[in-house]
């Protein structure tokens, strides 16, 4: 029996889909059977991030309506045998899916997979309610910005009200240099405000854009700092204890010169 995990944030654009793609791919790489569900009906994106956009025939609404069998709608990943995607519908309304259908879907997927990971849409309306309906465990994603942390706080409240207690937090797109200069909230500030357990911190990384361009998750790229952070998060999800990685980066020749002349 697998585990159903939802990745949510409230605010849009903080990196939910990217996180789902990377965590899912990383778990599959470690040999787990994983299915990713895109519940963002009307704004399907997880297929593109995974590079599977050309393979879609049926979607989640087709399965819920009984237009096809669940197995027919699952798209197998190009790279890993254990990784599947259940895509969102692109041309239907958000109301095309109900929470009951979602619970049923999660229950049946959980029998065949170790991890069922749900990509939640932005907002707290029907799409959000559907996404969390069948979940047992929640990961809340935020960036170190006032709006994102505020929305994360709201979502944590809603998750707890829905009976999903102890959500875990991923802080995404942290910029160590700005933190150092006091122009960005640091890990402790955010944990202090939200009072939840930290699952991981992902530094801002240009390679994420490159990897999304190619449809190849950064977790597979050994040079990517964000990829390294995702690999640590995956270890924590399966229960290993891994320290938060050092966010300090080699700042290049200018920083080195400044250090020499004593400016830092």
């Amino acid at each position: 029996m697998g585990e159903v995990l939802v990745i949510t944030s409230g605010k849009g654009g903080v990196g939910k889909t990217t996180t789902v793609a990377n965590v899912g791919t990383g778990l599959a790489k470690e040999g787990h059977d994983v299915v990713l569900i895109d519940t963002d009906i009307g704004l399907r994106n997880l297929d593109v991030v995974l590079g599977l956009e050309n393979r879609i025939v049926y979607d989640i609404v087709d399965v819920a309506n009984g237009s096809c069998r669940l197995k027919q709608a699952l798209i197998k990943d190009k790279r890993f045998d254990g990784l599947y995607l259940l895509p969102a519908a692109q041309t239907k309304e958000k109301t095309a899916l109900t929470t009951d259908q979602m619970v049923e879907l999660c229950e049946s997927l959980k029998k065949d997979f170790d991890y069922v990971i749900i990509d939640c849409p932005a907002g707290i309306e029907q799409g959000f309610k559907n996404a969390i309906a069948g979940a047992e465990r929640a990961v809340v994603l935020t960036t170190p910005e006032v709006a994102a942390v505020r929305d994360a706080d709201r979502v944590i409240g809603l998750l707890e009200a829905a009976g999903i207690t102890d959500p875990e937090l991923i802080i995404n797109r942290l910029r160590p240099q700005m933190v150092k200069h006091g122009d960005m909230m640091d890990i402790d500030d955010i944990i202090d405000i939200l009072a939840v357990r930290l699952l991981g911190v992902v530094p801002e990384d240009e390679l994420i854009v490159v990897s999304t361009n190619k449809g190849e998750p950064a977790v597979l790229d050994n040079k990517s700092r964000a990829g390294e952070a995702y690999r640590n998060i995956i270890k924590r999800i399966v229960g290993e204890e891994v320290p938060i990685m050092n966010m300090e980066i080699n700042e290049g020749i200018m920083a080195f010169l400044k250090k020499i002349v004593g400016m830092r």
């Binding site: 910005e145 909230m185 400044k258």
Partner: protein, 95 residues
């Protein structure tokens, strides 16, 4: 210019933008969390009535408890109409 120098030296001032962010978040979350769960305010009201009733008779219907946002701080403002003061403090008489 001084700011630029301080930034180069990596100094963090109390008025650096992260502290502004934290302070704004703190205030906005107090309001958010209260408006999400009005029952918190309700149970606070009940507790207030309990405590104050030990000392004076108050008009429970006229009681008003709310949050008041003033510039940089958030205050809890309670308006409690008094009907009668009690002569002596006696917990047994209260509530």
């Amino acid at each position: 210019m001084l700011q630029l120098l301080q930034r180069l030296l990596g100094k963090t001032e109390p008025d650096c933008s992260k502290n502004v962010a934290k302070e704004r978040l703190r205030l906005v979350l107090v309001q958010d969390r209260c408006s999400i769960s009005p029952h918190i305010l309700e149970s606070l009201k009940e507790d207030l009535i309990d405590v104050i009733s030990d000392y004076m008779e108050i008009d429970e219907d006229g009681l008003d408890v709310n949050f008041c946002n003033e510039d940089k701080s958030l205050a809890l403002v309670a308006n409690i109409p008094i009907l009668k003061m009690k002569r002596t403090y006696n917990k047994a008489n209260g509530a």
